[in-house]
Symmetry: none
DNA sequence: GTGGTCTAGACCACG
DNA sequence: GTGGTCTAGACCACA
């Protein structure tokens, strides 16, 4: 389900990283779910396993997954996510909000987008049949 | 007022760019206000003028300021900001909001941050005595 | 009738030059008509006479006007325009046409614009009452 | 195939930019084709790599090519070209047409040049054997 | 004095 | 080997 864009300026390993994190964040992968192995993902995306490995390592440092030698990598519960990642996200949220307000959007409009984002989430338990 | 972080992965010119844009977005610089000259900002930040120049060029392309050769650079009115910039900001807003919701923050908490951002703005006319 | 834009990246003298040439090209100034004096134009635009002088000199080199010492500057007949200017215009025309065709416009669409440009012209004799 | 003119008022990076864009627009470079590397083009034109880099960056912003770090730069499909670029081209087309009509050229003559420009294009697929 | 351009040369991340 | 960033220092046009 991860789509690579070779014309994107972002390096491949970062596209993989963002794609996997997106699966976790949207609830497509629930805590404890097993992620594809480095080799299988590499072959299905037709890229070098080193590149996948790098993405997994970065996500593990951020706390989005954990790896068990010989078993595989698994999605972490949200509580494990690195505090630094949280801080960076909050800063990103505040800055984009401030700039959008400057550009004429209202607090009400942005609040509506928050509601929409909340409505689009898959909560634990809901999506297990997938 | 701009603080550079040499350990940050983001290039310096981008940190300068974001810092200057922040001044415009928060209203610290009102439309028409003159920004520091390339050379003076370079020396006060202790970096090369070319790096500052690059940040100014990028901000001009985004529509946050305009430059008159031989005169200096000046803050643009909000209406001049590039339309593409707005779209990118909305995406950034939505993505950071989605991930923060996953991490356990509530819509109410994020809404409160929106209120805070709105409250921190300096609107045109308010800061003229400064 | 010339409007200066101090936020434009083009230098002032070039804006003046283009503005005057536009008056000639559109037929607002017919061959032999007297242009405003350097001093009067400078004061009406509130800029330095040297800047106006520079624009007049450049237009004289291009052949769009001629200056008689003690009398003033006058619009030239179109035949006097510098051959180099013609060549540069043709190149500009060809290049913009080629690029617009690349971008999906058709020869018919561009031809229609030519017709429109032709229709908008003021021909010698037509506009003299102005 | 790009010729630089050091006596031209236009900066070198812009001459390089226009030369490369011309290759894309005329179809000499088809979508996906690889452009010369920054370093190789710099050495073959005997100018500094930074100057070439600047031209490539500008063309990427206009949408004529895309760059993958570590891989190279590639021609974009026509659809990716920035919308603002199209508007600027139309204005350039109209203005040069208006001035050429003033200088005595006829709509028929300019129409013939459009036909010539159309005839000179290489359409996708045509040039593959080269 | 201002911004705009260019050069020479350096180091880094990426795949 | 590729592009991306940064520095140091230079010259020019503009108002």
């Amino acid at each position: 389900m991860i789509r690579l864009n070779y014309r994107d300026a972002r390096p491949i390993y970062e596209q993989v990283k963002d794609g996997l994190r997106h699966l976790v964040v949207t609830g497509a992968l629930q805590a404890g779910d097993r992620l594809p192995s480095v080799r299988s993902l590499a072959s299905s995306l037709a890229i070098n396993p080193n590149t996948i490995q790098r993405a997994y390592e970065a996500l593990e440092r951020e706390g989005y997954l954990y790896t068990v030698a010989g078993k595989g990598s698994f999605a972490s519960p949200q509580a494990d996510v690195d505090a630094g990642r949280r801080a960076r996200l909050l800063e990103q949220f505040d800055q984009s909000a401030a700039e959008l307000l400057f550009l004429g959007m209202t607090v009400a409009e942005l609040g509506a987008r928050l509601q929409a984002a909340e409505a689009g989430r898959v909560r634990p338990g809901e999506g297990e049949s997938v």
